[in-house]
Amino acid sequence: SAHYPPVTLSNLCKPRRLYISFSDVGWENWIIAPQGYMANYCLGECPFPLTAELNSTNHAILQTMVHSLDPEGTPQPCCVPVRLSPISILYYDNNDNVVLRHYEDMVVDECGC
C-alpha cells in the first residue's frame, strides 16, 4: 500500500548528452584529433519497481523496494554507466613525436541502476 510518486520517462536513469570539446579546455594545439567527443553521463531516477530497461542489478531491485517502504532511511539506487566504449586520441608529445593513444571506458553508452 506504499505510495508511488509519479515518475515521468524523461527523468528515469539514462545517458545524457555531454560533448567534451578539447579546444574549450585549450588543448587544440597539441591534440591533433578528435577535436572533441561525445562523452555523455548518467542521470535519472531508479524508482520502484525497476523495469527491465533500467539495466539493474538484483541488489538495486532490493534497494528500490526498501526505499519505497522507507524513503528516509534508504536512498534510491544510483544511476551509473554500465556500458562504456573507448576512444583514441592522436596528439603531439613534448618531443614533437606523434602519439596515438587508446583510452578505455571514455564514452557512456548505457546507464543502469
Binding site: N29, P34, N97, V98, L100, D109
Partner: protein
C-alpha cells in the same frame, strides 16, 4: 594549469600538457589506425580491445612514431662501396615509467622505388649495426665497437623498408645504453659480377639520393590504464 586540467591530464596518463614546437605531419600508419577505430560502430567499439593493437597483433594502448635524431656520418662522395652511412638515434626517454614496450619497428623511407638498370649485376646491401661507443659527429664509427644486427641485400630498393627492433629498443629504455644504430647502404657486385668502378659507383649510389628519413614506431602498454577492467554487468 588549473587543478581540474592537471587532474584531467593525469587521468589521461599525461604528467604535463605537451607543448609541441614544430608539429610534423601525422604518419599515415597512425592516421589509418585512428580512422579505423573512430569509424567502428559503437556496438563493436566496446568489444574492440583498447589495450591491444590488432594491426600489429601485440598488446598495447599507446603507439608512438619517434623521429630519428641521428646524423649522417659522411655526406657527398661515396666511399669504397658505401653509398650512405648514417647514425640513427631515437629518444625513448619519452616513454613513461609505467609503460611496457611491446613492439618497435624501424622504417627506412625513400621517396621512390629504386631499380638498377637490368644486367648490371649489382645489388644494394643494407646493414644495421648496434654501437656500444659514441663517435664524434662526422667521424666514422669505430669498427670494433659495433655489432651487426641486420644484413640484407636488395636488387631493388623499395619505398619503405621495415625492420623489427623490439629486442634492441627495450635496452634503449636505459638512457645510458641508448647509443643508437649505424645504418649503412652500399652497393656490391652480385655473385661473380665485378665490383662497380668508381664512376659507376657514383651513378649507382645516386639512386640512394631518394633516401627520405627513418622513424621508429613504438607500441607500449600502460600498466596504469590497462589494468584488468572492472567486471561488466
Amino acid at each position: 594549469l588549473t587543478l581540474q586540467e592537471s587532474l584531467l591530464l593525469k587521468s589521461l596518463g599525461l604528467s604535463a600538457k605537451p607543448s609541441p614546437k614544430t608539429p610534423v605531419p601525422v604518419p599515415s600508419v597512425l592516421w589509418r589506425i585512428f580512422q579505423k577505430r573512430k569509424t567502428l560502430p559503437s556496438t563493436k567499439k566496446d568489444l574492440a580491445d583498447a589495450c591491444r593493437v590488432e594491426e600489429f597483433n601485440v598488446p598495447g594502448n599507446i603507439i608512438r612514431v619517434l623521429a630519428d635524431r641521428g646524423h649522417f656520418v659522411h655526406n657527398g662522395q661515396p666511399q669504397r662501396l658505401l653509398c650512405l652511412q648514417k647514425r640513427l638515434y631515437f629518444n625513448l626517454s619519452v616513454l613513461e615509467e609505467g609503460e611496457r614496450l611491446t613492439m618497435a619497428q624501424l622504417e627506412i623511407k625513400f621517396s621512390h622505388n629504386s631499380y638498377h638498370t637490368s644486367g648490371q649485376g649489382q645489388v644494394f646491401e643494407l646493414r644495421l649495426y648496434q654501437t656500444s661507443q659514441i663517435s664524434l659527429r662526422g667521424m666514422p664509427p669505430n669498427e670494433h665497437s659495433r655489432k651487426l644486427l641486420v644484413e640484407q641485400s636488395f636488387a631493388q630498393l623499395h619505398k619503405s623498408l621495415l625492420f623489427n627492433l623490439s629486442g634492441v629498443a627495450k635496452d634503449w629504455r636505459t638512457y645510458s645504453m641508448n647509443l643508437g644504430l649505424i645504418l649503412e647502404i652500399s652497393v656490391s657486385g652480385r655473385d661473380g659480377a665485378s665490383a662497380p668502378m668508381s664512376g659507376e659507383l657514383q651513378s649507382l649510389c645516386a639512386s640512394i639520393d631518394s633516401f627520405l628519413d627513418t622513424s621508429l614506431l613504438v607500441v607500449t602498454l600502460s600498466q596504469q590504464q590497462c589494468k584488468a577492467s572492472r567486471r561488466r554487468r
